[in-house]
Amino acid sequence: MRTLVTLFAAGVALTSAATAQDLAILNGRVITNTDQGQVSSGGVLIRDGVIVSVGANIEVPDGVETIDANGGWITPGIFAPYTQLGLIEVALEDSTNDASASDSEFSVALDVADSFNPNGTYLATSRLEGITRFALVPATGSTLFAGSGALGNTSGGMDALFDTQSFVFADLSQSGAGSAGGSRSAAWAYLEAAFGDARAYPGRYASGHGDALNRYDAAALVDVVRGRVPLILEVDRATDIRRAIRFATDNAPLRLVIYGGAEAWMVADELVAAGIPVLMDPMRNLPSSFDALGSTLEAAARLDEAGVTIAYTTQSADGYFNARLLPQHAGNAVTNGVPWDAAFRAITLTPAEIYGVGDQFGALAAGYRADVVVWDGDPLEVMSAPIHVIIDGENSDMSSRQTRLRDRYADMDDTAPFAYRQ
């Protein structure tokens, strides 16, 4: 399956090379996310959708289109590490919500790529806020396994997913315990059994059934068990996170990622030692459940100081409509003690690294894919906004269904009927 994915990704790269523009973005503060740091006044040169140079004095070949950042900020595009973009159009309308499938016979085998709709209107609204890449994460249904996730861009193009079956998501929090039968013990027993099934696949299924998973679900878990793609586990309580660390150790070469992690700061040193990253929302600060009594605005800074690999989410908002608020969430991490550079990496380069694509996305450096955002100010300030969003070297359309509605109702003195306005 990975082979197919690789071929697919190569195909996308070829396509984008054929259509991408050459572009130079000049006259801005450049955030590189590399050893080059921040360049107070400089630019980025893009050829064939790939960055070729970054710095204070880049040479722009004749004929290359230029964008004047006008003293604004030039940054890598935002990489949202936990979204349901293109899975949900109207959350409460089941007919438009493909995030989960609680009546399905299958779990791990549910491939989110089959549900993704690149024409969902929140691809554009997210792009307008500087989100260029995202992880597409299915939600859990009747078991603790949600299914397989994918990676995409917000271009709205039909080939927006550039990697599929990229990870598996499972819920081992109190809600996962509920779906497994009513306790954490049940959830971990189920997870252990599922791993046993995947390890024994396909032999076990030639003559009988799996202990936890059906044949298709077991097959879909093989890449996780072999450490080829990450397993993302939702857990909040400190003891559950320790249990997850032990599970990862016992099941090497499993690549574990923690999602949620309300109390991850309490076991930060163990996470560092085990090399396990955490996807967390720096704005969660209420004891929303007895799993999350340790929720605090200081969590992000404590994790950062301990050296835990962190990417930020919009968990306290949602993942389909307001994943676009990720810069605000990162800004609040800064307000509560995280250094600016670290907070910005947590919504750009770090998520790319967690998903194994940190050599292509999340930084402005030669050889990186040209996802670049030009902002009118500090991107973590709530009053700032993108002026240009460039994906794979293409300058995006900055309109959305929302901006069109805005323009239709902006002028109350216009006598044209509303439905006849452009």
Partner: protein, 473 residues
């Protein structure tokens, strides 16, 4: 018999005063005789659960050198404020510190009135969100005007303290939106207390939560009963307002001529609705779509009452003219949407555009996290408005989280702006409140410093005691 509005108002005032003197009416079977010319009239106590709020002790305080947004649309650079007896004595430039006043140097910092959230469920849907805490919506029949949100408020909700750290000094707690008539809302001081009575904003008017649209029809339609549709919603409102009008008329008949008209049987549901018809209880109505808000405006005119505010008014930007004409405010989020069909036409500029096109608009949270940073939510709405070319000053936008919600809650004579005589509800911000990086350094309620970030002065709810993270932000 024609309505006697003045008499009802007089009776209400008597009831409130009597209640303030000890609330003894409840001990006398909820009925009592008045004196003088109304001596034959039997009435009932309108305030059986009176506020016992008492401000914390405060000292005469002089805050100097700040950039002040007064909530009334003005910006005062290098401004000073004098607080005395818990009230604002003076606001302006070059004031002199009263003798013996505590002096706070606020140079380089910013001051606004205390943040007011017109839509909260803190206490009714408290943290942690366990089953036993689902106290926010009496989803047992479409009209539950008889329930009062204050009777569900758990004062130990840790969310109150987190909101205080975000500058919130006053909040309005509402029942949920699954019913046509959800019940009474209550306006609270954001003070840590053992009882909700100690939090109740003295003499703030009661409110009635009503709801449009998908929620009531989903809840009751799903049970095979009415309302199951939007037209069922409208029929439901109208049928209940007809009952309420009859009830009000029966009481007025009785009060006018008690010998010939016996008193109706007390009905808690209709008591609340009668209060709305008499203009004493403010209608706060959950309504998303423009066309639905227009229907509700007609409904209110059919029965002669006023809708004070449409909450979650996602499509207010489509009908600023109708809202302005009907004198109804819109309380909105900066950028929530997509969660249901009636929230599909959300735009980021809703607040700014509705305001600029002449209607009264404000921010609201409806959320235990959002309430902690309403300044940021306003900043987003303001910047989106400016980006489309609307000219709105910072000082004007501060009203969206201060004086406009105060107006909508009927407490603007007491709080919501920094004007002499008002309660000293004040936030000192570390930076411009429209910056992500700004934090509330100090929060004063009635002149008492209830939150002091630098010195660790903050309330800790009983729930948080000896739990992980006690005292964390």
């Amino acid at each position: 018999m024609s309505l006697d509005w003045k008499r009802w108002t007089a009776l209400l005032a008597t009831g409130v005063l009597a209640a303030c003197s000890g609330g003894q009416e409840a001990d006398q079977g909820n009925e009592n005789d008045t004196n003088g010319e109304e001596s034959q009239v039997v009435r009932f106590d309108l305030d059986p659960y009176p506020s016992t709020y008492a401000p914390q002790p405060s000292e005469t305080t002089f805050i100097t050198g700040a950039t002040i947004f007064d909530g009334a649309g003005n910006q005062i650079d290098n401004g000073d404020i004098i607080i005395e007896n818990g009230r604002i004595m003076a606001v302006g430039q070059g004031l002199e510190a009263p003798e013996g006043a505590a002096v706070i140097n606020a140079e380089g910092r910013y001051i606004t009135p205390g943040v007011i959230d017109v839509h909260s469920h803190l206490g009714d849907y408290p943290s942690p969100g366990v089953d036993a805490h689902s106290d926010g919506n009496e989803l047992t029949q479409p009209n539950t005007a008889e329930v009062w949100a204050e009777h569900s408020v758990w004062p130990q909700d840790p969310g109150f303290a987190r909101a205080l750290a975000g500058g919130v000094t006053t909040l309005h707690v509402l029942p949920g939106s699954g019913n046509l008539f959800g019940g009474r809302g209550i306006t609270l001081r954001n003070v840590a207390a053992r009882t909700v009575q100690e939090m109740k904003f003295p003499e703030a008017p009661y409110t009635l939560k009503m709801a449009c649209g998908e929620n009531p029809s989903r809840v009751y339609g799903g049970r095979g009963m009415s309302p199951a549709t939007d037209m069922g919603n409208m029929a439901g409102y109208r049928a209940h307002w007809i009952r309420a009008s009859d009830y009000r008329d029966s009481w007025n008949d009785h009060w006018d001529d008690p010998e010939n008209n016996s008193a109706p049987t007390r009905d808690l549901e209709l008591d609340t609705m009668m209060g709305v018809l008499e203009g004493d209880i403010l209608v706060q109505m959950h309504c998303y779509r423009a066309d639905q808000m227009a229907q509700i405006i007609d409904l209110s005119q059919e029965f002669g009452y006023q809708v004070t505010t449409f909450h979650h008014a996602v499509e207010a930007y489509k009908i600023p003219d109708l809202l302005a004409e009907a004198n109804v405010c819109a309380a909105v989020w900066a950028d929530w949407g997509g969660f249901k069909m009636e929230a599909y036409d959300t735009i980021r500029e809703n607040l700014a555009l509705t305001h600029s096109n002449g209607a009264c608009a404000m921010i609201h949270s409806d959320d235990a996290l959002g309430i902690q940073r309403l300044n940021q939510e306003v900043a987003k709405a303001l910047s989106d408005g400016r980006r489309m070319g609307l000219e709105i000053s910072d000082a004007e936008a501060v009203a969206w989280f201060t004086s406009n919600p105060a107006q909508a809650l009927g407490i603007s004579a007491e709080t919501g702006s920094l004007e002499a005589g008002k309660r000293a509800d004040i936030v000192i911000w570390s930076a411009h409140p429209f910056s992500t990086y700004a934090q509330a350094d100090n929060v004063f309620i009635d002149g008492a410093m209830m939150y002091d970030r630098a010195n660790g002065v903050q309330p800790v709810s009983d729930f948080d005691v000896a739990q992980i993270g006690e005292g964390d932000d």
